[in-house]
Structures are given as structure tokens and as C-alpha cells.
Symmetry: C2
Subunit: 342 residues, 2 copies
DNA sequence: CTGAAAGCGCTTACAG
DNA sequence: CTGAAAGCGCTTACAG
């Protein structure tokens, strides 16, 4: 048992009723200014802390939001999911909510055991971070609790989700190359491999189209075999002046390869990547890249879930968040300064 | 208002008292086996969820632990702090606790504003992840709530803490080199720079001492100037066969440098690092390194805080956790296989 | 084994 | 403006 100061203690101290204390501390109508001030001061002096549990009992809301992440994402230090937590937390905090994080064990996911925070009614809403098995997602959906999926989406379930926009991001970074005067731009990646690589390819294509640059087949350079292993790149006869790589690892290796071949980056060729992973920072030169906008995504998910809690029928659907550009050193502008001015 | 199933509903359904339902569901003494089973089944069927808030009200415990981290650690993708969360969460989960994470804003840290989770009585204990300003730590200490510091320690305050053991880790990895037959082992790092580098140097020294290897001054190679910028390494005339680097970045660059100089790693020289950072993985060859044992540290902090909540006077002091070795490819054994057998 | 009563700390109508 | 009463959902003694 904690020996905490309660409203009762303050009421006794000041010879007023508990109701009045509650109103004063809660900023509600119906207390004289002077008395209110006295109560607030007294509470402060006595080290009073609100017992939000008691309030929650009355209201039926815990003012907590749960974030669950599958155990399969726990571990590898390259993982970026944990970076979301802090942004979600900040967003929730601003809205008066706290964040409860729970790792969903592989067994619980498999056996469809609901997260404890939920079964103990500790949370008013749930953010699911990253992919989760379809049956589990369906289980969650059947619970009468607002849910937002973060960085994950499945057509077979109809839950609001916040995802990154690969297509847009690729379009943007390719456009930057074009604006920098590049017209011979290759795309490196297996455009049949995953839907996100496909989207990145299509964003690249859109940027070309928009600038009237023809898509050349030999400028679509495959980087992996059917098993997903990276392969030697087959460069076209006429070297492009810029490469859009489907991720930073590929960009990193490309830069090494180009150097071997006698091409310097960015002086001879420009290179851009995706993901803003450590490879982009560790590379020399550092790689200009598009990366998931963690902050924007986390804060959006935080806002959505709180809004959903407040208005139970609120729907958002699948919301895409633009990626962030990280301008570094691997792109050279072919446009002369005086040309730019004209 | 949620329209949740409560014990009252179950009681009505089964024509028993709420007390009996509470006992049955709580696994307490004093209910007939048969009735108990019936109640549990009924609760299941009706989709009953415990309202832990109500329980907490009675008991005075929230069964939540807060984790706060200063905003100054939020952002850089190299940060490893977020990786702690999942381990802490797992540890707390096993003990029946949930984890509430809160980022402490720079303003709140500066203005000594207590974390909301605390001032709203949402948590029974607090884990502080990473360094926090001394005044703030003192403020927290003055609160009547159990606290554990994680990866941070300050002599001026007397709060239980869980930190990584640089000294031991360095001793261990150096010993491994020695066991592999190396005797000419250099240490690379500015031994006056930080206390953790100092500890790593001393661990290295201890391993030498233990094996009767003399510490040679020219084998302590400084790697940075007074402003902390990395400098050219001054290699000794007689090249060592192994290098203990004070971190992975240094090890990474050393390997490149050695290659330039015509030394191959690990065939001509072995190299080990510290931190298990991405540099150790990205390097070619990958670097054998000692790294913070995130899992062990997180779980230890989780256990400590719960124990402290349960027994209010429990003290641990400063607890060091051994680092983990990550054996990779940058060490060559000089011991022949048949020698090993003898 | 079963259950009526009291209480955890607060808030929300509703009276005065 | 001030406050007595009821209630949020549960648990803990204590009777029967």
C-alpha cells in the first residue's frame, strides 16, 4: 500500500469537501477563484499526485494505448522498428495518453493469445507495429477496440493502416536526379522481386515519363537471382550518369564496384539508394537516399489511434506517408550554376 | 463508456455472488471446484476481461513500470537504446507487469518536470534508460518510487543501476587473442579520453599481466587528438600480430589502413573491436567484437525493478553485466591444431 | 463453500 | 459557489 496523499487529505486540511477539491484540481467549473488557488497550492505543498486509475474507473478509459510488435522483429540490431516507439510515445503524450509496449511472443501469435494489456483492460486502443499473421490480425479485429496498423497492410483485412510510400519516394528522388541535369538514369533492382521494389521502379518510371525521358530496357539492371541472392550487375554499353538503386546495400556495393571499374562517385556517376540504412552513412561517399519517415509515421499512427478512441466510428483506411530524403554526397549536379540561374 | 462484461454480469448469469466470481476467476481459495469451473467457462463464453484498473485501485499497485529516456537519445538511427525496450518488456511481462515508455522532453528535463506516468500514478516503479541530468536524477530520487538506472551510473547519486562491464569485456577479448597464440598485441585508443576507454585499456592490460606479457609503450597507439578527432595511427616498428581497438569504427578503419599497407586481416594481423556496432558487420572481414549485452541488461533491469517494487527496501547498488562476444572473421589463431591438442 | 459489506480514489449528476 | 450521494469494478476481511 502506498501512503499517498489523496483528495480526501487535501479536503480535510482545508476544511472543504472532496468534490470541491476534485473540481479545483480538475480545472472544472464551480469553485471560487480564491478557493481554487488555495487548493492547488495546498495540493502542491502536500505532494499530491492524481490517481488516474480512479479516474479511469469512473470514465471507463485508461488513457493508455498499447503498441504490440511481433517477437520476430526483436533482435537484429539493424531493425528500425524500435525507433518508432519514441515518436509514437511523444505523439500520445501530447494527447494525454501513455504508451504500453508489448512484444507478442511467437507462441502467443501462433496460438492466438490476446495481448495481456488488452485482456487486462489496460488499454483503450492498439497500434500494431509491423507485420502480424493474418489469423492474429483477424482476431484483433474481432475485439471491440480501435486498432491502427503501422508499417503493415493487408488487403484481406480492413483495418486502418499507416504505411510508407515507396512509389512517391522513388518518384521524388529520381526527379531530383533529373533536376540535377541527369537524363541517363538506370534503375538497379529486380522489378519482379517484391511489391515495394516494384513500387520504387514505377516511381522512377513516373519521374522519367514526366520529363519525357524514354525508359531504356538496358537501364533496368537486375541485381539478384530467383533465390534473392545478389548477382553481378550487367552494365549497359553506354554508362548512365546516375543510378537509382532499390536499396542502400545495393547502392553501397555499386559504389565499390564502380570504383573498381574506374568510375568515381559522384564525379563520374551519381548514385542514390533507399532506406536510409546504415550503409548509406558508412559508405564513402555517403549515399543520398530516401528513407521511411519514422517520425511522421509514428506521430500519424499516434494521432489516428487517439482520434479513433474518441470517435469510435472514425475510419482512415490505408494512409501512405511520404518518405524523407536524406541528401548526402553521392549525387553530383550536372547543371552549371549560371545555367541554373537562367 | 465501454459496454464490457463485468463480474457482476457473470454473477447474475450464474445466480451466484460477485465475490464467488472474483474468487473463481482470481484462482483464490473458497469456491467449489465444480462451480469454479462453471464460472470460468461462463466468463470465457461471455468474453469477460479483467478490469485491472479496479484491482489496482484496491491494491494500490498499477502493475506498470515506467521506462523513461531523455529526448537527447531520440533520433539518430545508430542509437541502440530502443533495442532495450523489447527485452525490458519481455522481462516485465513474465512478471505480470506492463511497460509504459515515456520520452522525457529536453524542457521537462531542464525544468525538472516529473514524468506524467509518475504524476498520474500510473506506474509502480521506474527504469531510467541512459544518462539523465544530475538534478533530474536527484529529483527522481526524492520521489517515493523504486528506480533502477540502466546503462547509466553516477557516483553522486545512490540509485541502483545496471551497467555494462567494459573492463571485463576487454579482458575477455584480449584473453581470447592470447589463447589464440598472440603475444604481440597492441591497444588502439586514447587512454585518457573517456572512462570507458580507460576501462577497456585496463582490461587489456590485465589480460597481458595474467599471461606474463609485458606491456610495451609503443603498443599503446593513440587514435585521436585532444578534440576527439581521429588521427593517423603511428604504428610501431615491429608490427603486432593483433590489435585491440577501443571501438568498432576504429577497427573498421584500421582494417582498411592495414590493407593499404599490405597487411591482410586476419592472415597477417588479427583485429578486434568493441560495441558490436554495424561497422563490425559491414567490414570485410567482419570484425570480432565485444558488445553490450542488451538482453541481459534489459532483463536484469526488469527483474530488479519488480523486486524493488515488491520489497521496498531491496538494494542492488551498481551491477555490471558482462559484455557479449561476437566471434566473426577478423581473428586468426596462431596455434596449430596439433599444438592445441597437447 | 458461499456471500453481504466496506472500501480503493475519484467524478458526475444533482441539491442546496 | 459548495457539497452529500452514488457509482466505476474489483478484492479483502469477515460472517454465515
Amino acid at each position: 500500500m502506498k501512503s499517498n496523499v489523496t483528495m480526501k487529505d487535501i479536503a480535510k486540511e482545508l476544511n472543504v469537501s472532496i468534490v470541491t477539491v476534485s473540481k479545483a484540481l480538475g480545472g472544472k467549473e464551480g469553485v471560487g477563484e480564491e478557493l481554487k488557488k488555495k487548493i492547488v497550492e495546498c495540493a502542491d505543498k502536500m505532494g499530491y499526485r492524481l490517481n488516474s486509475l480512479a479516474r479511469s474507473m469512473k470514465e471507463g478509459y485508461s488513457y493508455n494505448v498499447g503498441v504490440i510488435v511481433s517477437e520476430k522483429f526483436v533482435g537484429p540490431p539493424q531493425a528500425f522498428y524500435p525507433l518508432f516507439y519514441q515518436y509514437i510515445s511523444q505523439s500520445l503524450g501530447e494527447q494525454g495518453y501513455s504508451m504500453i509496449i508489448q512484444v507478442l511472443s511467437l507462441q502467443d501469435e501462433e496460438n492466438l493469445v490476446l495481448p495481456r494489456a488488452y485482456s487486462e483492460s489496460k488499454i483503450d486502443g492498439l497500434i500494431v507495429l509491423g507485420q502480424i499473421s493474418l489469423p492474429y490480425a483477424q482476431l484483433l479485429q474481432s475485439c471491440e477496440i480501435p486498432i491502427v496498423l503501422l508499417d503493415f497492410y493487408d488487403e484481406r483485412i480492413d483495418i486502418d493502416s499507416v504505411v510508407s510510400d515507396n512509389f512517391c519516394g522513388s518518384y521524388e528522388i529520381t526527379s531530383i536526379l533529373i533536376k540535377s541535369g541527369h537524363r541517363d538514369i538506370a534503375f538497379i533492382g529486380d522489378i519482379y522481386a517484391t511489391s515495394s521494389i516494384q513500387d520504387r521502379f514505377l516511381g522512377y518510371y513516373k519521374a522519367l515519363l514526366e520529363s519525357g525521358i524514354k525508359l531504356r530496357e538496358e537501364y533496368i539492371i537486375n541485381d539478384r537471382d530467383k533465390e534473392g541472392r545478389y548477382i553481378e550487375l550487367a552494365f549497359p554499353d553506354k554508362m548512365p550518369t546516375a543510378f537509382v538503386c532499390n536499396n542502400d546495400v545495393v547502392a553501397y556495393n555499386l559504389i565499390l564496384k564502380l570504383r573498381e571499374m574506374g568510375f568515381n562517385v559522384p564525379d563520374d556517376c551519381s548514385v542514390v539508394g533507399f532506406d536510409n540504412s546504415v550503409h548509406s552513412v558508412i559508405s564513402s561517399p555517403q549515399i543520398t537516399t530516401m528513407g521511411v519517415n519514422l517520425e511522421e509515421m509514428g506521430k500519424t499512427a499516434g494521432k489516428f489511434i487517439v482520434n479513433k478512441i474518441r470517435k469510435e466510428n472514425k475510419r482512415y483506411g490505408k494512409v501512405t506517408i511520404k518518405e524523407n530524403i536524406y541528401q548526402r554526397e553521392s549525387v553530383k549536379s550536372l547543371v552549371k550554376i549560371n545555367e541554373r540561374l537562367t
